[in-house]
Structure formats: structure tokens, C-alpha cells
């Protein structure tokens, strides 16, 4: 197991010095998703079992006979991370109760991309959350099917160009807005839902730790920058993660027992969405009118969220 160099200088009390996702994996340069994954695993610690859906993080980490995972890890298929993690959780519970494994609390953790969460994995996730399994589900959302070559998912934002929602002469990219998965998870009445982004590492780590402490289902939607799929510069990954939050496109908040709370500073005025869009090739085809439309959508979603935050009564 490798350790971070000069660890004493950096956030010594915040992060586990051990690496649970080892270096030498095959992620793209500037990948925001693998950065999120590394931080998540550090925050979770070693008493976990990870069930991973097929996708970028699986493919870059587990080419037999190699593995980047230092924690117990299973990959079965694309759409069933929620179900596999349900089985793991049930097994650990039963075996511990029956004295067949060590009397040690181990958290079942599911990790999937946006396709494995909001599209094909939706049903298995909904079932797992509804049944109340003691698990954390992480959606590492890079807003399209990047592993198969940048095809649109229902997490792809409005007007973004992908290979199946191209910027054509008649239809300019993704026709619909992003599916609001955190809201759908809140509707499952689970104890903890949060949004996070690796450009805000302390916020991300805090949320992961909180989710792990929850006895029951928890869901964290992690915005994961993807230079390859977004046609952005790999050195601007962290910047894009900051801009997406500052423009209100992806607000950082948590919903604890139904109570909404912003975990970012609420700006008096949001940064214009154009600041975020202009750094990405997937929005290159947008003209000023299109940007207006995107801005209007962002404003609307932001107001909806602010209304919920203002009404901070738990259920």
C-alpha cells in the first residue's frame, strides 16, 4: 500500500494517509472521477466492501490480473450495483450475526457512473434504497457514457454535444435538461442525500464520512469532471468543478432526514453560466441565445432548490 509523500504538510488530520485506490490505474489525464474516487475511499477507510458497476472506474482499475483496489471489491455488471451491494450487505449482516465472520462493522458501498445510476442502474438503485439496506451509493457523474465513447445519458446537461446527441444543423445537442437524481433519492425518504464535487475535497470528505455513519441507505451524487468527454483542457479539471458550483449549475447541498442545507456559500448573485460553458468543447456550438436558454434553466433549478432550503423543516 503506497502513502502520500509529504503527507504531514497536507491536511494531516483530515485524510487517511493510506491509499485505497492505488496509483498506476489507467484513467485519463485530468480525470475528475478518479480523483473523486480516491478521496471517497480515503474518507471511507478500510472497513468497506465496494460493489462497482461496469464503467470507467471499473475498466481503468481492474484489468485481470491487476487491480487498483486495496479494499474488497466486486464488479458484476452494469445495471446492478445497487442489487449486488444489497446482497453484500445482507450477507455481512447475516454472517456476522451467526458468528461466521469477525464481529466487525463493515459498510457496503456501491459505486456507479451516471449511466449505472440514472439510466440502466436506476431500478436496482431504487430497490436498494427503498428496502433500507445499510449502504452508501455513490454516483460518479461525468454526464455521459464516457467509457463507450461519450454517448448521452439522462444526466447529460441541456444542449451538451455528445456522440449520440451531436450538435447538428437542426438539433443542437442534448434536447432535455439533466435528470435530477438527488431529488429522486430524497423522494425515497432515505436518511442522507448529498451532492459533492472533488474540486471541494473537504466538503466531499465530510459528506462521505457522514454518509458512512448513517445506519441505513445514503446517496451521494458526485460531479465528476471529464476532460475527454467534455472536450476541455485536462489542467482545467479542478477549475471546471469550481465553476460548475459557482455558476449554480451543480449546487453543493445535503439533505439530512429531509432537511435541506447548502454546504457552499450562497452567493448574492450567481456567476454567469457562460463562464463555465465556454471552457468546454461540448458547448462550443452554443450561440448567445442558446446560452440564455441554459442560463434560464439554471436559474429556475436554483430557485427551486433555494425554496426547499428556505423551508428547512424536517419531516
Amino acid at each position: 500500500m503506497s502513502t502520500v509523500q509529504n503527507f504531514e504538510i497536507y491536511v494531516p488530520k483530515l485524510l487517511d494517509r493510506r491509499e485505497f485506490f492505488s496509483a498506476g490505474h489507467r484513467a485519463c489525464q485530468g480525470c475528475g472521477e478518479v480523483l473523486a474516487l480516491r478521496l471517497i475511499l480515503k474518507a471511507l477507510g478500510d472497513d468497506v466492501v465496494v460493489s462497482n458497476a461496469t464503467g470507467c472506474m471499473e475498466i481503468i482499475s481492474s484489468a485481470y490480473p491487476q487491480t487498483a483496489w486495496e479494499v474488497p471489491y466486486i464488479h458484476v455488471a452494469f445495471e446492478n450495483a445497487g442489487a449486488v451491494a444489497s446482497g453484500v450487505e445482507a450477507a455481512l449482516k447475516a454472517l456476522r450475526r451467526k458468528g461466521r465472520i469477525a464481529d466487525r462493522y463493515v459498510k457496503s458501498v456501491a459505486i456507479a457512473g451516471d449511466g449505472g445510476t440514472v439510466d440502466i442502474g436506476f431500478q436496482a438503485l431504487s430497490g436498494a434504497m427503498e428496502r433500507g439496506h445499510d449502504m452508501v451509493f455513490f454516483c460518479l457523474d461525468n454526464e455521459a457514457y464516457m467509457n463507450t465513447g461519450i454517448q448521452r445519458s439522462s444526466a447529460t446537461p441541456f444542449m451538451a454535444a455528445t456522440t449520440t446527441s451531436p450538435a447538428g444543423k437542426v438539433i443542437k445537442g442534448q434536447r432535455t435538461g439533466k435528470k435530477n437524481m438527488p431529488e429522486i433519492m430524497v423522494a425515497h425518504n432515505i436518511p442522507y442525500v448529498a451532492t459533492a464535487c472533488p474540486s471541494y475535497p473537504i466538503d466531499l470528505v465530510n459528506k462521505v464520512k457522514k454518509a458512512k455513519e448513517v445506519k441505513g441507505p445514503a446517496y451521494i451524487h458526485v460531479f465528476s469532471m471529464c476532460p475527454t468527454g467534455w472536450r476541455s483542457a485536462s489542467e482545467e479539471t479542478i477549475k471546471l468543478g469550481r465553476l460548475v458550483v459557482e455558476t449554480g449549475v451543480f449546487p453543493l447541498y445535503e439533505v439530512e432526514n429531509g432537511k435541506y442545507r447548502m454546504t457552499m456559500e450562497i452567493p448574492k448573485k450567481l456567476r454567469p453560466v457562460e463562464d463555465y460553458l465556454k471552457l468546454q468543447g461540448r458547448f462550443r456550438h452554443l450561440n448567445p441565445d442558446d446560452i440564455e436558454k441554459v442560463q434560464a434553466l439554471v436559474n429556475k433549478e436554483w430557485r427551486k432548490l433555494m425554496n426547499k432550503v428556505a423551508c428547512m423543516k424536517p419531516w
Binding site: S62, P72, G87, A90, I101, A102, G127
Partner: protein
């Protein structure tokens, strides 16, 4: 040995699962498996066994949850039928490739469309190549015995493969039969708690389900094929062990009045019982006919089949599924292919019959034996279809 009690076979299947002290069950209801699911829920909710019951939202998730549970070291069970098994299809070869000893009961039912809840084998046949050990039960007692044996077979260190036990929907699942249950003590002796070769736990972190590049994928496939072929030896060993402990011996291929018979009927599943009555009636008329019942479908018991049919002139294969636009029924096609090089092999007549719950009576078996006599070629034929 306890005394015989009358019980519905689906319920008996779940009672047998309970005797095996499973740790996790993940079941989604589907006709005609539903009594199995319901009774298993009763057993677990009444605390008769200490297990987790996951009320999954689909069969895809039931097999996936079983995969996760089994990988974490649990003894995991699921049961399904027809569309449910079809929905599991994607995950079945993953479970076998990962060598997870999941056991599944399948209440055989026709596959849609058109929708039919009644019995045939068209649900299990598309799963033939998924790398699971695949058995057929003929009656309720076999369901009880084979269920318990399945866990021991699946978990054996020389096997480590999932097992699917086929139980004909309605025609077997919903029968009330006199059954003998082994005691808990006897089952505990036969089937100790699972000792997994490897499991998901932070005490010993490992990665399962890593993907294969072209450098290694073929080797993995051959290993799986070899493992499935090799499992037969252990299956037979465990069946003999069962025979010694409980007095009922199981074989990969069972025979009835087959020795020296000119004509042999080949069946799988519950129709064997009806066919045996037809054999008795034909024998009374002086017709030299016998019965061969395939208990194992995967691994295919070729040696045992060869021994059972030695010297027979006509082999009549009863297929309860179709390979549309192909060579006929899956069982008939496979037997033809496997015996192709055998010198003096019998003429093989393949009947497609009993689809979607169409009743196959004693008279029907007799009629098929008559028909087979007249048939000149080896092309497959539908029996009992209104033209």
C-alpha cells in the same frame, strides 16, 4: 428418517432450503414459483432459520444480490421461473465465471410470447450455455433431496459452480405428494456451513470480477468448461454419499426397464413418471420399450447416456422446447450431435411436445412410440399440434 407427510412440492422445496440453513435469500415472485417465495418468507419471518430475506425489485436484482451475498461468503438461494429466468440471463454466466455457489430453484414455465404461465422447458433451455450445473427433478421427493444436495455440490471445493434445479411448473410445483424429510441433524451432518474459498471482507481484501483482455479471456472460458465437465465426478460422489446416508441413490441418467429394450424414450423432469406408466402398458402388449430419464443436463452425462441406450434401435427424445428455425428440440439435437460418431447408434426421433402446459398423457406417449416406428427419417416433429 422421519415419517412421510403430505405437502405441496413448492412448499417442500422451501422447507428443504430451510434445512440447508441458508444465510441470504433474494426472491422475486413469479407464477408458478410464488409458493416457494411465499413459504421461504414465512420461514425467515417466523425466525425458523437465521437468514436475510431480500425482497428484490426484479429477478435481475435477485440473482445480482445472490452474487453479492455469495461473494461475501453467504449461502445464497433464489428461485424463479420463465420470464424471471430470462431476465436473469445476463447475470447467469457471470455467477458461474466467478465460481459463486448460488443455488436456484426454477419452476419451469413457458416463455412469452404469447404469455403463458404453464409448463414447458423453454425457460431453462436458453440458459443452457451459462455454465451452471443444471438438474431436473421428477417428483417431490427428488425436489427435496436434490435441493439439499445442490448446496453441497455447488460449494464443494472441486466444483464451486452455481446449480439450477428445474421443477416443472404446476405439474410438479403444485402437486401435493407424500414426502420424507431428513431431520435437521441429518442435514447438518451431510451439509456443514459453507467454507468459501475466497470472500469479500476487509480482513483479506481482494478484487472479484476483473475484466479479461484477449490475452486471457479464452483461458477463462476453457477453465469454466473444464470445471463444469469435471463437476460430474463430484456430483456422483455426493449422490452416492446421499444414498448411503438416506437410502435414495441418484444417478446422472436414470433408467426404467431399459435393459435390452429395442425402443427407448428419453425424458427430463416430471414427464418421466407418466412415461413410465406408458412403458408398463406397452410392455404388457409385448412391445420392447423402456425409459431413460436425464437428471443432469449440464454437465451432459454422455457416458451414462451411452451406457443406458446400449443396443437400442430407436431413441425417442421428448423435447419440451424448440430451437426455432433450427435442428429441432434442444435435447434431441444435442443427443444426435453427441452420438453422431457412435457406431451402431440408434435412430433418433425427436418430438416437440407438451409446450405451454399442453397435457402429455400416457396415451400420448404410447402414440409417439407408434408414430416413431413408422417414421423413416430423423427430422424433428411436433406431437399433438392441431393442423
Amino acid at each position: 428418517m422421519g415419517k412421510r407427510i403430505g405437502m405441496e412440492v413448492a412448499i417442500a422445496a422451501s422447507e428443504a432450503v430451510a434445512l440447508c440453513n441458508i444465510d441470504v435469500a433474494a426472491v422475486y415472485p413469479i407464477t408458478p414459483q410464488s409458493h416457494m417465495a411465499e413459504h421461504l418468507a414465512d420461514i425467515i419471518h417466523d425466525g425458523r432459520i437465521d437468514a436475510e430475506f431480500i425482497t428484490v425489485e426484479s429477478e435481475h436484482s435477485s440473482i445480482s444480490a445472490c452474487a453479492g451475498a455469495s461473494a461475501a461468503g453467504a449461502r445464497a438461494y433464489t428461485a424463479t421461473s420463465s420470464q424471471g429466468l430470462m431476465l436473469m440471463h445476463e447475470i447467469l454466466p457471470i455467477v458461474s465465471a466467478m465460481r459463486l455457489p448460488v443455488v436456484m430453484g426454477n419452476a419451469n414455465r413457458a416463455v412469452s410470447g404469447p404469455l403463458s404461465i404453464w409448463n414447458d422447458h423453454s425457460d431453462i433451455m436458453p440458459q443452457r450455455d451459462s455454465g451452471w450445473i443444471c438438474m431436473f427433478a421428477e417428483n417431490g421427493q427428488e425436489v427435496v433431496d436434490l435441493t439439499i444436495q445442490s448446496f453441497k455440490i455447488a460449494e464443494h471445493p472441486d466444483v464451486m459452480l452455481p446449480v439450477v434445479l428445474n421443477i416443472d411448473g404446476f405439474q410438479l410445483t403444485h402437486m401435493i405428494e407424500p414426502l420424507e424429510f431428513p431431520s435437521q441433524k441429518e442435514v447438518n451432518k451431510f451439509l456443514p456451513p459453507r467454507k468459501p474459498f475466497a470472500s469479500l471482507h476487509p480482513d483479506n481484501p481482494l478484487s472479484m470480477g476483473c475484466f479479461n483482455t484477449p490475452d486471457i479471456y479464452m483461458e477463462t472460458m476453457k477453465a469454466k468448461d473444464t470445471a463444469l465437465h469435471n463437476s460430474k465426478k463430484t456430483i456422483v460422489k455426493i449422490w452416492n454419499e446421499w444414498g448411503k446416508q438416506f437410502g435414495r441413490t441418484y444417478r446422472p441418467v436414470e433408467t426404467y426397464k431399459a435393459k435390452g429394450a429395442d425402443t427407448l424414450i428419453v425424458t427430463m423432469g416430471s414427464m418421466g413418471e407418466t412415461a413410465s406408466i406408458a412403458v408398463d402398458q406397452l410392455r404388457k402388449k409385448g412391445i420392447s420399450v423402456g425409459l431413460v430419464k436425464m437428471r443432469l443436463w449440464r454437465p451432459f452425462p454422455l457416458d451414462e447416456l451411452r451406457a443406458a441406450i446400449k443396443g437400442c434401435k430407436t431413441l425417442i427424445v421428448m423435447d419440451r422446447a424448440v430451437s426455432f428455425g433450427g435442428a429441432g428440440g434442444p435435447v434431441g439435437t444435442e443427443i444426435k450431435s453427441l452420438l453422431y460418431h457412435d457406431k451402431g447408434r440408434p435412430r433418433i426421433v425427436d418430438f416437440i411436445m407438451g409446450l405451454g402446459g399442453r397435457d402429455v398423457t400416457v396415451d400420448d406417449f404410447i402414440a409417439m412410440v407408434e408414430r416413431a416406428k413408422k417414421k423413416k427419417d430423423e427430422t424433428y416433429e411436433y406431437y399433438g399440434v392441431r393442423e
